[in-house]
């Protein structure tokens, strides 16, 4: 029996499928794969790539933190933000990556310290967007972890 999956954010439903064979999820504790009949699970999500495998297709999503609940073959992903490949603006992501890297290379003392965490998160988000975007939809094979 396939999994029923819904990926929702505060603002919208990003993905709703009832024919999911497998999904690869970036949790804060590491990457996991959820197969049908998975044990009930609640976990927090990292910034990363969520890959949904349905018959004949892989759907990659860039997700930026949140939660996952797996119970009785129903998977709920409460994402802080989630994007489909075609929604990602590669140039914007690239610009964000450069900006974040520049910030990270800058001074680290004083009031800049708060910015450090923000820049790191921004960099992570930009990298995830770029990775998901460049993989495109329909690519075969299991994605690399990093």
């Amino acid at each position: 029996m396939p999994l029923a999956l819904s990926v929702v954010t505060q603002e919208r439903t990003v993905l709703e499928r009832r024919d999911v064979l497998r999904l690869i999820v970036p949790t804060t504790e590491g990457q996991i794969t959820v197969l049908p009949s998975h044990a009930p699970l609640m976990a927090s999500l990292a910034i990363g790539e969520l890959v949904v495998v349905v018959p004949g297709q892989q759907i990659p999503l860039a997700i930026h933190g949140g939660f996952i609940q797996v119970a009785r073959d129903e998977v709920t992903v409460l994402a802080d933000a989630a994007e489909h490949v075609e929604e990602i603006d590669e140039q914007r992501a690239e610009a964000a990556r450069e900006r974040a890297q520049r910030r990270l290379a800058g001074p680290r003392a004083g009031p800049e310290a708060v910015d450090l965490l923000r820049a790191q998160l921004a960099l992570q988000r930009a990298l995830v967007r770029l990775r998901v975007r460049r993989r495109r939809g329909g690519a075969t094979g299991v994605p690399s972890a990093r």
Partner: protein, 296 residues
């Protein structure tokens, strides 16, 4: 009797009322289309809200069972010294009694709380509420204006941040969330409910509890989930308030248009009467003049 000047004055007045009714008609149509969009947004945020409530209900059960001492700070009840409330209004008026009803409800809540606590402050979101509390010299925790017709998470996050930080630091002991709840197009109701401390939603019950794996531990998950739950509630309120604002404005503008049209009708009647009288009196003059000439 009415002269030519009076007739012209009535005609000008008709024209200006007609122009006003065109403007209010246009505003009604704009509000109607914005209302539809606001309602759609409220609708599309619902799946997250429902699932969030379900997950939280699940989780808080586990966390409570695990360790009673480790209740999350946002869940902790304590004696209320400082009461604060988020007060959502529109930035703009022309929405019938929407904003003033909300402000009155906010003021009533503040007066009710004042005898029981040391301090009451408001956190107005939207210009109409901000202006109201400022005018009355009410203490403000913070203020947010220019939130736009379609507020997004960018509006929610700073508000949530302030109340969560203040609550966690013990500067505020209870926070209510107030907004105009959208009942239907013709009815919006000022509504206040508790935001902090968080009262975890009840589980669906019935279903047999599952043996969950938690990664990380339930307490840590709860710590990440609760702020989002607070954000979600503020977001829901903002979306509801946005739908309320547009529908109140639509109804107010429709009434204004109807009133203007009634007025045009009355004025047209007056105008025709005045014109008729003018023609009659001119005719009388001519006929009278002619009769006088013939008699000579």
């Amino acid at each position: 009797m009415a002269g030519a000047g009076a007739v012209r004055a009535v005609r000008n007045r008709i024209r200006s009322v007609q122009n006003a009714s065109k403007v209010t008609k246009a505003m009604e149509l704009v509000a109607a289309s914005k209302m539809r969009r606001a309602q759609e947004r409220a609708l599309s945020s619902r799946p997250y809200a429902e699932r969030m409530r379900a997950v939280l209900a699940h989780l808080s059960g586990y966390a409570a069972r695990g360790d009673a001492d480790a209740t999350h700070p946002l869940l902790q009840q304590r004696a209320v010294k400082h009461f604060a409330f988020i007060h959502i209004t529109a930035d703009r008026g022309l929405a019938g009694g929407l904003n003033s009803n909300m402000n009155r409800a906010g003021a009533t809540l503040a007066l009710e709380q004042q005898p029981h606590v040391e301090r009451v402050s408001a956190l107005p979101v939207g210009r109409k509420g901000r202006d109201f509390f400022r005018r009355s010299g009410f203490p403000l925790l913070a203020e947010f204006t220019a939130i736009g017709d379609f507020p997004g998470m960018a509006v929610v996050l700073p508000i949530a941040r302030i109340v969560i930080d203040d609550y966690s630091a013990g500067r505020v002991d209870r926070v209510f969330l107030g907004y105009q709840r959208f009942v239907n197009t013709a009815l919006q109701r000022p509504t206040f409910r508790q935001l902090l401390p968080v009262t975890a939603p009840e589980g669906a019950g019935g279903a047999k509890p599952l043996d969950f794996i938690f990664e990380p531990a339930p307490e840590q998950l709860l710590q990440m989930l609760l702020p989002r739950y607070v954000e979600m509630q503020i977001f829901e309120a903002l979306l509801d308030a946005a739908a309320s604002e547009q529908s109140a404005r639509m109804v107010a503008m429709r009434q204004a248009t109807d009133a203007a049209n009634d007025m045009v009708q009355d004025l047209t009647l007056t105008y025709n009467k005045a014109r008729q009288e003018l023609v009659t009196s001119e005719l009388l003059d001519i006929v009278g003049g002619k009769a006088a000439l013939e008699q000579q």
